[in-house]
Subunit: 173 residues, 2 copies
């Protein structure tokens, strides 16, 4: 019986490790915001793709609202969730982006441990519209950040700015 | 005691799920190879960055060699590991890239289950030079593929080619 239980819960990543991994990636994305020329943040584009500011707004729209939704079953946007956090949820300059980023970092650290470990394989309808498992949704959001941040690396290189190194994620596993 | 054991093995992702997740991403990267104009594969660049062919060679250099290395403790390159697979390990056209890709897909499916589930947190020296845990190294390789593939999305858009949708990873969780 004990062996059966162990085998059923074979673990590649624990919840704590996955949060640490994500926050490591988020630290890198934060350094990308710092490195990005402020006058290009809302405008620079290649091939008709969205500017970095729009990609960041997409990250924000999913990061804390997804974890909050997984924990509570309620899908609520940042302007409501962060009402009392004292940050601008629709940033219009780099400083506001960084402040919002840091507020979300704290919220993720506070709310992630509330996810029931038994729920990672639970089927949910994320944001009341996307069917998937909890882990599937969370990995999607992490991967989406890596994917679009890779896009922003090309923007920075095209702007002749050296991006922060991809391998350096000091909070990583 | 039983609770302690359960808590120590809380699982966000199982080894089987992580392989499925990676192969889902690899299926998307394969569709990027198919979509990429063959005459630009070895040459197209933005901001001095490497062409897509060089990024693909980096993926190849890590994917199967890392899993083989984790299982055996030996760090060996594809030209040796795939000697009998009947594929070109230094592709010079799109068809050869796809053949090598598919050979690696099979090898990953064959070798990943040989990873001892208890070893994911083991400290290793990957490729005889990078210190980290097994899970840390494997996640790095998966994330690196997502990151550079995001770069290739910008190349495709700049070449006025519609890339395959990021969200479609039919083998995904």
């Amino acid at each position: 019986m004990e062996n059966t239980t162990l085998s059923a819960t074979a673990t590649a990543i624990t919840p704590e490790q996955l949060l640490k991994h994500w926050q490591g990636h988020r630290g890198l994305t934060r350094r990308m915001i710092e490195a990005f020329p402020e006058d290009q943040l809302f405008t620079f584009s290649i091939g008709g793709m969205r500017p970095f500011s729009a990609l960041l707004m997409e990250f924000f729209s999913m990061a804390f609202p997804s974890v909050y939704g997984v924990v509570t079953g309620e899908w609520v946007a940042n302007d409501v969730l962060l009402k009392d956090a004292g940050v601008e949820t629709k940033p219009t300059n780099k400083a506001e982006f960084l402040q919002l980023w840091d507020a979300v970092t704290e919220k993720l650290n506070e709310w992630w441990p509330k996810i029931n470990a038994a729920d990672f394989n639970k089927e949910i309808k994320a944001f009341d519209q996307y069917d998937g498992t909890v882990i599937g949704i969370l990995l999607y959001i992490i991967d989406n950040e890596i994917h679009h941040r890779g896009q922003a690396y090309v923007y920075l290189r095209a702007l002749n700015v050296e991006p922060p190194p991809f391998w350096d994620r000091s909070q990583d596993l």
